[in-house]
């Protein structure tokens, strides 16, 4: 068990009056959307209520403005140290997110919104390498950044990228980032968390967790639409896992205990 692991609960609930962002219109138009139509599918190009927005959010946080994103890197640092620098490129998406999707939400949502906004800020910071006090991490990330600049292409990882071919699937990234997950910092935390959300709820919760976590993380998302596995009550602690189906366990030889 990893000591000092924070756990986060995702507080979203799928509302009845879900609205979605239309990417074609610069994310400004609010399109009314019947909730159950795409409830089992999420994706980053389709418009589908809060889940879509969640994934799109992660997408925005991950994808680069220049379209070069073979390896997607997010490093989270404490916001207040870098609050002076905001990349204007991200303002549009932040604005769209806050105005269109969560206009009528509670103050609880405000906190998550702020952490996502921080994430945008931090990501741009890391990309531009504007912090000097984290030389080691920065050096490594510059290596990653150079790789990203060499391979231009899709914004998502894994072979499920399909049509774009192998040059744009980030395939060695897990091995690459796993090296950092095997190392501990001085306070006993892993140097890096490698996170692979399996659906939109996971993507959202892990993005929030990543924003709140005081340390580097790498979030790895796939491109195609995937069915939902979890719900808004699922918690995703860093360093955790979810057992999706459990084999009936034998009590002893010849006898079986049915159920988990």
């Amino acid at each position: 068990m990893i000591p000092g692991t924070p756990s986060y609960t995702m507080h979203t609930s799928v509302p009845t009056d879900t609205c979605c962002l239309d990417p074609a219109n610069g994310h400004d138009d609010v399109v009314p959307h019947q909730e159950p139509a795409f409830a089992h599918q999420v994706g980053h190009h389709l418009c589908m209520g809060v889940d879509h927005n969640v994934l799109q959010l992660s997408d925005f946080a991950l994808s680069r403005q220049d379209g070069c994103a073979d390896l997607e890197v997010i490093v989270c640092y404490r916001h207040d140290r870098f609050s002076s620098t905001v990349n204007p490129c991200h303002d549009t998406s932040n604005h769209a997110y806050s105005s269109a999707t969560h206009r009528n939400r509670s103050a609880l949502r405000q906190r998550e919104r702020e952490s996502i906004a921080k994430l945008h800020t931090r990501q741009s910071l890391v990309r531009h390498g504007e912090h000097d006090d984290l030389a080691g991490i920065r050096l490594d990330l510059h290596l990653v950044g150079r790789h990203v600049d060499c391979d231009d292409g899709g914004s998502h990882v894994g072979v499920s990228l399909a049509a774009d071919g192998p040059s744009q699937m980030a395939l060695p990234d897990v091995a690459f980032f796993r090296a950092w997950t095997t190392v501990c910092t001085n306070d006993g935390k892993p140097l890096l968390y490698l996170l692979q959300p399996a659906d939109a709820y996971a993507a959202y919760a892990l993005t929030v967790a990543m924003a709140e976590y005081d340390g580097p993380c790498y979030l790895r998302t796939v491109r195609p639409d995937v069915p939902l596995l979890y719900n808004d009550a699922t918690t995703f602690p860093l360093g955790g896992h979810h057992v999706l189906s459990q084999r009936p366990r034998p009590l002893h030889r010849g006898r079986w205990l049915h159920g988990p």
Binding site: M1, I2, V157, G158, V159, S160, L161, A162, A163, D164, G165, P166, M169, A170, L171, P172, D173, V174, A175, F177, R178, T181, T182, P190, Y193, L194, L195, Q196, P197, A198, A202, L206, V222, P224, V226, P227, L229, F236, L238, G239, G240, H241, H242, V243, L244, S245, Q246, R247, P248, R249
Partner: protein, 143 residues
Amino acid sequence: MVHEAQKALALLKEQDIAATLVDLYSLPFDETAILGLVKDNQDQALTVEDNYGAGIGSAIAEMLATHRGAYTLTQMHVRRIPKSGRTPDEVLRALQLSASDIAQTAVKMLDVATLARAMRRRDTYERARLQGRLQWHGAQYSA
């Protein structure tokens, strides 16, 4: 790949094979819990990834190798440079990572395990027979 594994689980269920499916979304992970899950499943594990090796499968392998026990781990990951395909399913099929491939690998693992267990039982029986320790347990062994 969790979704592909879920499809594989459905395929296995058709053959009356039960399995545990874990979404290991984080590295590093809770080693005690994962080890417990492997132990609950006849010390066998199958990892499925959509990336090159040295990823989660290797992390599990290292974890199992650290602990005492005879564990079997089969890693499924991208083993050659993929080509682009029209659909993700097409690419997964070409890379032998589709649901049916996962199910086949699992069945193969299970066959090997069943064979090993049968051979172990036979060895135990033979040793007992040669040492004269064989006992008559009643009618259940007749016929």
